[in-house]
């Protein structure tokens, strides 16, 4: 068996030895270097664009919106984001012009000879300003999208409540900070366009390019190159860069490379949505939730982009992994004159998780209940019903994860340790916990509509080849796909290849997002492998009469007699019948239903579950929070590759430590001013706590070998667990992250 083994990464050797080629390592003959000219104001109109008459423009290719052969928008949900601004400016760093030159340096110099004048209007920069409505920048009320989730009767619930607790929580922007900045190379063809680069979702780019250039499916080819991380940051924005590079390439008739440096990448590309989340919770004397009213506000930035789906996931997760029969969740994403916010690991869930876990603790404190008991009383268990009315029928690891990390006795012993709180000499110790869940796959009817496809082909050498649009972005797609296929076919992992994601060669498996690659696409890959196996079994049966054919450990048997190896039979098949390929597509498991109108039903086919204990030290001199240890248990169904799964959990947890205590974008009039690694502070190895990971495997009957999602769940739990440990250490309840020393000092007075 390959599944469950720590099979080495398929592409690990190339990455370790430096042989892997990232987009900026690639140079093509005749290639030009592109640069994006962006707005320096958050809101207004372009008055004039002046090209310095003394500069030699004959060497420079310049493109603006008038050069777009098709539609001037980036195709996504609403198509409201222009590829290049025409006159209206809606956010700082909005692309206006594109230039290309023989060298990057020359493009930089040329850019300094362009002057853009604006007529500025007062911008809308915050959620509060968007709601005040003094200035309308979208629709009639600055609201991109709103949702209502209602269950039971909240008013009745509050009447039954013994205590009502209110809370308001604030969460910030966050930058994905993949190691490799974004970049693309476009190669123009005769009525065709090929783009390659760093990306998560080749078919998103494929679609965007078709709209920009009025080309057909076959005329556009998108190829993923080795990608140095994504975290959601390479979900939607690469479409913009690809189309920009392609527009320059189209105009120049030559290949064009467009690679961002770190400063441009941080300043211009999407961030995690900041938000304000308000809770009003009714509980009985014993601590049982009887009414919950939650209001979510996310700042979507200047264009709709992915805000509706981020908001929807936020709303669905807002109550947390808790039972409550009377719920009203309202959620709104507002427009502001800031760069659009978008996909980031967790996709709306980390924001609401911080809020509901802080609120849970507040409720407990009000009732003089402890952190453990309040969660045990309200925890969703198998057979329980969620806020959208989903009955949890399978793979519910809630109690398992909770019990794996929360040892009541030890937890409260450590709490007791929090010694003298006023001594400048010693550090203040604190411990806190969080409990959370994450729906895997697209929300609601997403997967049913998407019908993700993947296939298995047989190579001339008789090896299996995975055909899928899912990308390797460091998380292990290629490795786990080969493990799944190896076991389905009964062959070794080394006999499975994974095709490069190239839209001319692989089907649309949907984007590499939403913790769906293993659970959803992995399942489809498994089904396709099953099809291939059946074809080969039938082929062998036909050739050997009506024999009882089996495929065992890479060998075909007929009537108990060993015939030949998998690859021999596979090659024989190719010789006699030509190609061997099978495709499969995704369908939700039986009984999974969702109603988009009422926002009720099975929001996800299954949830992954997590619990976490964080331990911190607060320095009374500086108020700096050091996270010393995190212990977490996460139920992910089945770890196809335990080392990779633990890597996801540790990495996600550390990214969430940054979210909780360090990472903060500094804005000045709609513009990010700390767009460098010096001042956008993410954890270094010294800031990383010891992380103890416990993987719980409550198998999901409809996932590949029982697997569920693991990519995003680890991002959800750390911020509240840390904030609650800080609460334990200093006695102050922090309702806004990151808990920087400056913020903590103010809260603590």
């Amino acid at each position: 068996m390959a599944v469950g083994q720590n099979v080495l990464r398929k592409e690990g050797y190339e990455k370790l030895t430096g042989a892997a080629r990232y987009i900026d390592d690639i140079t093509l003959d005749g290639m030009l270097h592109g640069k994006t000219i962006r707005s320096s104001i958050p809101c207004g109109r372009i008055k004039s664009i002046t090209f310095d008459p003394d500069y030699d423009w004959s060497r420079i290719v310049v493109a603006d919106y008038r050069d777009i052969p098709g539609n001037n928008y980036v195709a996504l949900i609403e198509n409201d984001q222009p590829l290049l601004a025409e006159t209206e400016i809606r956010h700082c760093e909005e692309p206006i012009l594109l230039i290309a030159a023989e060298s990057k340096h020359e493009a930089e110099v040329a850019a300094r000879h362009i002057r853009i004048e604006y007529e500025e209007s007062p911008p809308v920069l915050t959620i509060e300003e968007a709601l005040e409505g003094d200035r309308i920048i979208y629709g009639s009320d600055n609201i991109f999208k709103s949702f209502l989730i209602a269950r039971g009767d909240v008013d009745e619930g509050f009447k039954q409540a013994h205590t009502i607790v209110e809370g308001e929580y604030r969460v910030p922007h966050q930058e994905q900070l993949y190691i490799e900045p974004q970049g693309m190379i476009a190669i123009p063809g005769d009525n065709a366009m090929t783009v390659m680069g760093s990306m998560q979702c080749p078919y998103y780019i494929h679609k965007a390019l078709k709209h920009v250039f009025n080309l057909s499916d076959e005329q556009v080819i998108v190829i993923q190159t080795t990608t140095g991380g994504g975290f959601g940051g390479k979900e939607e924005y690469p479409s913009v860069i690809a189309a920009h590079a392609a527009l320059l390439a189209h105009k120049a008739g030559r290949p064009v490379k467009l690679v961002y440096d770190r400063a441009e990448d941080i300043a211009a590309t999407p961030k995690r949505h900041p938000g304000i989340i308000r809770h009003r919770t009714g509980v009985t004397k014993e601590g049982q939730l009887v009414a919950s009213e939650i209001d979510i506000l996310f700042d979507g930035g200047a264009y709709v982009t992915l805000s509706p789906v981020v908001l929807s996931r936020g709303a669905i997760h807002a109550l947390g992994p808790y039972r409550c029969d009377n719920v009203r969740i309202t959620a709104r994403a507002v427009a502001t004159n800031t760069p659009p916010n978008g996909a980031f690991r967790g996709f709306g869930a980390p924001q609401v998780t911080f809020a509901y876990e802080m609120q849970m603790e507040k409720v407990a404190a009000k009732l003089i209940l402890d952190s453990v008991t309040i969660r045990q009383i309200n925890m969703l268990r198998e057979g329980d019903i969620t806020a959208t009315g989903q009955r949890l029928n399978w793979s519910v690891g809630s109690e398992d994860v909770f019990n794996a990390v929360v040892d009541r006795k030890k937890f409260f012993e450590k709490r007791g340790n929090a010694a003298d709180k006023s001594d400048l000499r010693g550090k203040l110790y604190g411990i806190g916990l969080s409990f959370f869940f994450h729906g895997a796959g697209f929300t609601g009817s997403g997967e049913a509509k998407m019908k993700a496809q993947a296939g298995i082909g047989i190579t001339p050498e008789g090896r299996a080849r995975v055909l899928s649009g899912s990308t390797e972005i460091g998380q292990g797609t290629r490795t786990i796909f080969s493990q799944i296929v190896a076991d389905e076919l009964g062959i070794g992992c080394d006999d499975v290849e994974v095709e490069e994601p190239d839209t001319s060669r692989v089907p649309d498996s949907g984007p590499t997002v939403a913790s769906r690659t293993c659970m959803v696409v992995g399942r489809v890959v498994q089904l396709a492998a099953y099809e291939v196996k059946q074809k080969l079994l039938r082929f062998v049966a036909e050739r050997y009469g009506d024999a009882d054919v089996k495929l065992i450990e890479g060998r075909f048997d007929a009537n108990g007699k060993e015939l030949a190896s998998f690859s021999e039979i596979a090659r024989a098949y190719l010789d006699l019948r030509g190609e061997l390929k099978a495709y499969a597509s995704y369908a939700n498991p039986p009984g999974i239903e969702w109603d988009d109108e009422t926002y009720t039903g099975d929001a996800y086919p299954v949830f992954s579950w997590g619990a976490m204990v964080a331990e911190v030290e607060v320095d009374p001199v500086t108020w700096a929070v050091t996270v010393t240890k995190i212990t977490t248990a996460q139920d992910i169904g089945r770890a196809i590759n335990p080392v990779l799964a633990a890597g996801q959990i540790e990495g996600g947890t550390l990214q969430a430590v940054g979210y909780g205590v360090l990472e903060e974008l500094v804005w000045n009039r709609g513009r990010i001013i700390n767009n460098q690694l010096t001042n956008y502070i993410i954890p270094t190895s010294l800031d990383a706590p010891e992380i103890e990971t416990i993987i719980i495997e409550k198998e999901y009957p409809h996932g590949p070998f029982g697997a569920k999602g693991v990519g995003e769940l680890p991002m959800d739990g750390a911020a509240p667990a840390i904030a609650l440990a800080v609460y334990d250490a200093v006695g102050h309840f922090v309702t806004e992250i990151p808990i920087t020393p400056e913020r903590l000092m103010v809260v603590a007075g």
Partner: protein, 305 residues
């Protein structure tokens, strides 16, 4: 010696391809092999030329295209600017001394331990191997971590040019934000720090934005002589709370000849928080910097009791 336009005395420094990417294409870099050559180059190019030592400040600027120097004078080969030597009352530290060398030096550990401590907090290992004390001094950032130590030690900067060598008291070296008293054609040769005298101790305290690779939000160094809990003399200096590294003369005189107890410590620390003039910037707030200046001094003073 006269300047030769053929540049016969200076090897043309050929940047590696990766270095070339960062440099303006019309720039030229020189690698003098003696101080005199370096002086000549500086005289020739004066303000068009930029000295490059470890490059750990300069390269960041270049990468961000915030530096448009036309010529670079790479002084890395000038071995006369290296070395830590015992000069009796003082320790002389060559301008090209790296943080790693400071950390490892027994002379520094013994006679100026706060400087070794400061060096350990700078960047991370790569930066410590390459960054120099001369670069830290001339870069003149108010957040430079070695600077408060040099200020608290009343160090002296030794500066040279074709005109000769002069010595400048460290506390007279900076004239404003990123401004020094140096002329454009001068090179820092060394810095001299008086050795700790019997009964004297030095302290260093840095508050960065995180635990490594962190610019200081506030940084403090103290040198003091105490006998039986009484302060005989004390020098307090801070970075990141003013346009330049500063001393805190009022707090120093408040503490001079004081006997340390909780009340005195708290009074002095509170006074310090008023004496400094920090600002709010993208790394921290004025409020925070004042409070932490107070806490840090209180912590240091309580270690003296």
């Amino acid at each position: 010696m006269s300047f030769s336009p053929s540049l016969g005395f200076a090897k043309l420094f050929l940047p590696s391809p990766s270095l070339l990417n960062f440099m303006a294409l019309d720039s030229t870099a020189f690698s003098p092999t003696s101080l005199d050559e370096a002086y000549e180059l500086l005289t020739r190019f004066v303000s068009q030329a930029k000295i490059i030592a470890g490059g750990t400040d300069l390269m960041v600027l270049m990468n961000a295209r915030q530096l448009n120097a036309e010529r670079f004078i790479d002084i890395w080969a000038l071995n006369e600017l290296r070395g830590i030597s015992d000069e009796g009352e003082t320790i002389r530290i060559g301008a090209l001394t790296t943080y790693t060398q400071l950390i490892k030096s027994p002379l520094i550990q013994l006679h100026a331990p706060a400087l070794a401590e400061a060096s350990r907090t700078i960047g991370a290992i790569q930066i410590q191997n390459r960054g120099t004390i001369g670069g830290n001094i001339v870069n003149a950032s108010p957040a430079g971590d070695s600077l408060p130590v040099l200020a608290a030690f009343d160090a002296e900067v030794e500066v040279g040019s074709v005109r000769g060598v002069r010595r400048i008291g460290f506390n007279e070296f900076y004239t404003g934000y990123r401004k020094t008293v140096m002329a454009a054609d001068e090179i820092v040769l060394a810095v001299r720090a008086p050795k700790l005298k019997p009964g004297e101790r030095s302290f260093f305290y840095k508050v960065g934005t995180r635990r490594a690779q962190a610019i200081s939000k506030i940084v403090m160094a103290v040198k003091a002589k105490t006998t039986d809990g009484m302060i005989n003399s004390i020098n307090i200096s801070l970075g990141s709370v003013a346009p330049t590294v500063i001393r805190a003369p009022q707090t120093e005189s408040l503490l001079a000849n004081a006997t340390l107890n909780d009340e005195v410590i708290w009074q002095a620390a509170t006074h310090l928080s008023k004496e400094v003039s920090p600002i709010t910037d993208m790394r921290s707030t004025e409020h925070y910097r004042r409070k932490v200046a107070r806490n840090a001094l209180a912590k240091i003073l309580s270690q003296m009791v």
